[in-house]
């Protein structure tokens, strides 16, 4: 077998793809409700928010960083959307835009703390996780906002050509993210920063600017996910998105992105997402309780990483 083929077969993505297919087949046999177009599209709908955030998170983790604050940003933007629209009486489209912008600003603040003050991303975003959630709760004062106009639900509940609207948005964002990370100069810089930030700087790349952009994008996209989330569940509450960061990070890491930076792809993240969502749904349909599902996902995470590490060692000689 030629080296190139061997490399392709042993890639984390390939292993994951095979695993995903096996899982789908097994789940399809487990429950006849699983492998139906309705169910799959509905799962896609549920996955879109985590998926969107996971796209930006892939960039963040490839640089060797982490963004724990995305769930809190989602909650904050969701609350602000209600406040802008209902309390301040802004037109809803403007409120949506402003909400997303606030998400971006929250991400920018993360980036500034990390680059200007050299705070490790884990600590910086752990702090803003608490900060943004606190803000969301303070602003909402435990009141939820309801009564959005019907057109607004198009985003989270509607369909276009038979496919949920947010899946179109997610698909578009995924293609853009894959092109940027995989093919563009910015993607190249992202990998270089994650592998060796010093060498990247010595090569004349603007490391800080790239990091700022990536953390800002992470906040922006969490804001977008918030708007879709609110539209999907028709209401705004301050605890929205709690724990979202864990799902997102699990999907990204499951997808083969190295937590140490320098390695990872959008395709991998998509496969990781798919596998995670399939397991959640399939196990639920098979009657496994929530806790059991988490255990299985944890086991699959450890399993895939071990397998691909073993193969990688082999391949390196």
């Amino acid at each position: 077998m030629s080296a190139a083929w061997k490399n392709l077969l042993l890639r984390h993505e390939t292993i994951l793809g095979v695993l995903l297919v096996i899982t789908l087949i097994v789940l399809a046999f487990q429950s006849d409700r699983f492998f139906t177009a309705d169910n799959l599209l509905n799962q896609g709908r549920l996955m879109a928010e985590v998926g969107l955030v996971a796209l930006a998170m892939t960039f963040v983790i490839v640089t060797g960083g982490i963004d724990l604050s995305v769930g809190s940003i989602l909650g904050l933007v969701a609350i602000l959307l209600g406040v802008f629209w209902q309390k301040l009486g802004l037109p809803l489209p403007l409120a949506m835009m402003l909400g997303i912008v606030v998400g971006g600003v929250a991400g920018l603040v993360n980036g500034l703390i990390i680059t200007r003050f050299g705070v490790p991303p884990l600590i910086a975003t752990l702090a803003t996780l608490a900060l943004y959630r606190g803000l969301a709760e303070g602003i909402s004062q435990a009141r939820s906002v309801r009564g959005y106009p019907d057109w607004f639900f198009m985003l989270g509940q509607g369909e276009f050509l038979g496919v949920p609207v947010q899946l179109w948005i997610f698909g578009l964002c995924a293609v853009i993210a894959a092109v940027i990370l995989g093919l563009s100069t910015f993607g190249r810089a992202t990998y270089a920063i994650g592998s060796n930030a010093v060498a990247a700087r010595f090569s004349g790349l603007s490391v800080d600017r790239s990091l700022l952009l990536i953390y800002t994008a992470s906040g922006l996209i969490a804001g977008l996910a918030a708007v879709i989330f609110v539209s999907r569940v028709s209401t705004t509450r301050s605890d929205m998105g709690t724990g979202l960061e864990l799902d997102v990070i699990t999907a990204v890491v499951l997808g083969g992105t190295s937590i140490f930076g320098g390695r990872g792809t959008i395709i991998g993240t998509l496969l990781g997402l798919g596998l995670m969502q399939a397991l959640k749904n399939g196990l639920a349909l098979a009657g496994v309780k929530g806790d059991g599902t988490i255990v299985v996902i944890g086991a699959v995470l450890i399993g895939t990483i071990l397998i691909s590490n073993i193969f990688r060692k082999d391949a390196d000689g």
Partner: protein, 502 residues
Amino acid sequence: MTPLVELTGISKSFVGVKVLDHVDFDVRPGEVHALLGENGAGKSTLIKIIAGVHAADEGEIRIGGEAMKFANPGQAVKAGIAIVYQELLLFPELSVAENIFLNHAPRTGWGGLDWAEMRRKARALLDDLESHHLDVDTKVGSLSVANRQRIEIAKALSQNARVVIMDEPTASLAEGDVQQLMTIIRRLRERGVGIVYVSHKLPEIFALADRVTVLRDGHYVGTKDIKEVTERSLVAMMVGRSIDQLFPKEDAPIGKVLLELRGVSHGKQVRDVSLTLRAGEILGIAGLVGSGRTETALTIFGITPATAGTILIDGKPVQISSPQQARDLGIAYVPEDRGLQGLVRPQTIAENISLTVLKKLARGFIVDRGKEDSLARDFIKRLGIRARGPGQAARQLSGGNQQKVVLAKWLAAEPRILIMDEPTRGIDVGAKSEIHALMSKLAQNGLAILMISSELPEVLGMSDRVLVMNGGRIVAEIARKDATPETVGAAMTLVQEREAAA
């Protein structure tokens, strides 16, 4: 006398490419056995097989006459084999003592670490190596390469090594440190330790080695007593031809001033430095390690921006506060530490070379892989980089070839001012003369080159003018015709005495 280590018929392939082909090698007690060969000849690979890092595909390893197979480096350490690697592997955040005793720290009765004993033993080992000035509590990250290397050697000794393998130990040392290292090696030899010594510097080989073994392209060429060979015959054995001239500096027309520094300072390391650099000129900077040469380069390159003084390019004052600005002004810096500052090791050769010219290579914002690939192929050919192709990961290359990739990456940026910090570190004799020839050619094409080197012959051979630095200041400027080992050396030591007296 039974050899301490004896290898016979060792072969090794990486992904189908044979890098060692039936190689024999042995080390006797109390000898220095030098291992020679061009970049990529397989020296480091052979050493890693002895140390249990790689497993041989074929052949036999005997330790003290007994056949052995190491499954991991730990077993080799137990068998008394210690390595000081080409790319030093210490932990920068740990202290000197912690690094020395990383895997075998002394324990107290109840199993905790015995810190007092550890520090005491570390002190004793360092004293043994005449390194009385090294504090066992300092973090390794803050130490010079020479000192880090002493710690590696102390670590080897702390494991009771009977064989100490050194892979290009002097590549990043200044002259004085080289002398000290040689003293240490001779002392180890007197104690009956067997030493494997890899170096591209032939004078060192003649000063130290008892025997030499030469590899070429993974093949065993031969083992000779040092008395049987001359510098010429060794080079011929290594490259398969003879090399006439080591420093082929050719005359280049000297043009207008491209770079000028006026009273530039940064912290304590760069103090009031003024210099001019002209098109077509190679300006050498000599000095001891820590004299501020690299720091000056870093200030020009925008890593540590100047806090005082002016930098002028083409006679116009410029503000350089990031490497990006420096690059856009036509300045390139080939850094001293290729592992940390030069290469993104997991990325491919092509990806490394294109890093400085990503924007130029892109169509829109998409990297043009075809162009990137041909750029890399071009440099692989031009600099004779030994690699499977542009898609090979940089970390898989031999040390000298990694250095060439760093050089390629900056030549790709087509700079007007090229700063080279130890440009031929770890590069074999053949490739070295090629790089020197390349420097001459670049100068003839109007490039201005600022060359920092700890190798005096290189400074003297290549420079049109030599600056000597000490304590962050430029203390002497010597024209090519007046530059001799004596004048340059004297400038360095004279100043040292003055500093000491002050």
